[in-house]
């Protein structure tokens, strides 16, 4: 595989509704921004782009089949090759990785990854129904199809087995909303307290409205290139930021469509197939897990995502990462729920399974230099969702994974302040970051590692 560079990106303003433009025109906002950021004129870039990958989740929301080709057409990319990817909430992450494959394989030298969703065309509760159709329509949807309900069941099991508290979940909401206060692209920029989160209207016990991301309209675009692509773009006058940002590793995992069908494996199987290298190498951690299993924990059960652990381990191996907490400078992860951020800390090996609650409230995943109004026992180690994540930025599904990629590119270029008009969220000295995209109840998960080229 050839080296692949993430050279630029653009994000439309995420909003509850964008009736001012059709979805192809919203994608065009992000696309034009990404092209302008490398200093090329639209026709010059169009001439050099080899093709694209389109990302959107639901045909229901747009009530339009073949929406991808409408964007390809609007962006002036016809007749170049393109295809649409779809994998629920992970659609954007899958799109980013498919674009990576197009370049890494030698099929393309310059590839555009674009994604969008227009969720405002139906009312919120109909939108929830559409999303719930991403659960088995024979067995799960008719019982009360509602994703917040599915995730809340994971939470109650997590709380029961590991002692996780609703207040620990609320720390994630406070952190991500406060981070987004400095992100002009975010939909919800709020200063919250733990009490605000806990007293918000209950949606699915114990998750309140402030534990859950909102529906959005929006688009995001990233531009990926090979070394040959870089040369062609720069020969045409592009100014590509140095140090370059290279996509160093990709990982993916899957799990059963019905979370009720996830297996409950024993300790030995878990240690052999799912434990991180760090976990395998620690006698203390082996004892910790042995004790968990003794008290009834099984993996992945309903509280954990083996797709996420699989994706993380795969991406870490490819990128040469052994201790993700110490070796990643930031992570943009799929926090559709505060609880899923906590579950993902564990899947991505930032802490052990069962320790996500205390980890969330410790301060390790917070941004340095931001006042949260919380008493945190630890200093920031690896900021998680410095952008504000899905909870605060919004979750226009097909755009979300690509939005994470754009923010990661800007972090690693050191250009976040330029794009946000505010330096607060720039992680100082960021050299390596991860993006994590997640679908369904953990059915598809992607992890991609981006880092500065030495």
């Amino acid at each position: 595989m050839r080296p692949v560079y993430a050279i630029s990106g653009g994000v439309s303003k995420f909003a509850k509704a964008r009736p001012d433009k059709t979805f192809p025109a919203v994608v065009q906002e992000a696309y034009a921004y990404a092209i302008a950021d490398i200093g090329l004129e639209f026709p010059a870039f169009t001439r050099l782009a080899d093709g694209s990958v389109a990302s959107y989740f639901s045909d229901h929301f747009t009530r339009q089949l073949m929406a991808g080709i409408m964007v390809q057409d609007y962006l002036g990319l016809c007749p170049k090759p393109s295809h649409r990817v779809e994998g629920g909430g992970a659609t954007g992450g899958l799109c980013f990785q498919e674009a990576w494959k197009s370049v890494a394989s030698g099929h393309m030298d310059v590839c555009v990854a674009y994604g969008f969703e227009t969720m405002s065309h139906v009312e919120t509760w109909k939108g929830n129904e559409f999303i719930a159709l991403a659960s088995d329509v024979s067995f799960d949807y008719p019982v009360g199809g509602f994703y917040s309900g599915y995730y809340a069941m994971m939470v109650t099991r997590h709380m029961k087995e590991f002692g996780t508290t609703a207040e620990q979940l609320a720390h994630v909401s406070v952190k991500n909303h406060q981070n987004a206060f400095h992100n002009p692209y975010a939909q919800k920029r709020s200063r919250l307290t733990i009490e605000d989160v806990r007293t918000a209207p209950m949606v699915a016990w114990p998750l309140t409205r402030l534990d859950i991301c909102v529906m959005s309209d929006g688009a995001a675009v990233t531009l990926l290139a090979s070394e040959e692509g870089l040369r062609r773009l720069e020969d045409a006058g592009a100014h590509i930021a140095r140090p370059l940002v290279r996509v160093k590793g990709i990982g993916r995992g899957t799990d059963a469509m019905r979370m009720a069908d996830r297996p409950h494996t024993d300790y030995d199987y878990f240690m052999e197939h799912y434990a991180t290298e760090q976990e395998k190498g620690s006698d203390e951690t082996r004892r910790y897990y042995k004790a968990l299993w003794k008290q009834g924990t099984r993996y992945p059960g309903v509280h954990s995502f083996r797709a996420g652990r699989t994706a993380g381990n795969m991406a870490y191996r490819q990128a040469g990462i052994e201790n993700p907490l110490a070796e990643l400078d930031f992570i943009e992860l799929h926090d559709a729920y505060t609880s899923s951020e906590i579950q993902t800390y564990e899947d991505m090996g930032l802490c052990r399974y069962g320790e996500g609650g205390p980890f969330a409230a410790s301060g390790k995943a917070f941004m340095p230099g931001v006042e949260y109004g919380l008493r945190l026992s630890e200093k920031p180690v690896c900021p998680v969702n410095p952008s504000g994540g899905l909870i605060a930025c919004g979750h226009p599904v097909g755009a979300t994974g690509l939005m994470q990629a754009v923010f990661a590119i800007w972090q690693l270029q050191g250009s976040l302040g330029k794009h946000f008009g505010d330096e607060t969220l720039q992680v100082r000295g960021a050299q390596r970051g991860a993006i994590h995209s997640h679908a369904g109840t953990g059915t598809y998960v992607t992890v991609s590692i981006l880092e500065q080229e030495a």
């Binding site: 509602f146 069941m153 019905r258 409950h264």
Partner: protein, 181 residues
Amino acid sequence: MSNPAPKREESLGGYIVHGVPFPIETDPGALAFLKRMAPLRIEQEYCITYLHSYGQDSPWFAGLTNRRLLASRDEGSGYTYVNPRGHDMYSGEETQWIDITDRPAHVHAFTVCHFGSEEFLPETPFVLALVEFEGVDTLLLTRLLGLDPMSATLDWIGMSVQPQFLRNSKLKPTDVYFVPK
């Protein structure tokens, strides 16, 4: 108790308008002004009835109609699925039907849905649960009745429950629900 909603819920629908403001003359100035026009929004209805087949899983629903809860089992390993599966995910072999109606069952996880998808909003608040069965390797998503949804507690997890069946079957997974034993 949370505070009452501070604003009225929005809904789609409204008056039909037969015409909208538009320049009388399409001179360059008027055409340029159209760039500042607010978007027009219309309603589009979409209603469809699907003929959905349960295929190889049909006996499971037929069982509910007859007050029996079936599961599928791999004969070789004994791995058992309460949501039926025609082929075992490990051996690839065809599974066989077994009856688990009278197996001891417990609440594995639950939530109380205070909101929901549009179809289920009128039923809120309701208790959604994952139930585990003795000798069965997977869980069942179901409704839990007979508990006060406003008094949710983690103590419900582990509670012994038993199935109840609708007398008038709808051929849906909600033909079975669970109550405390």
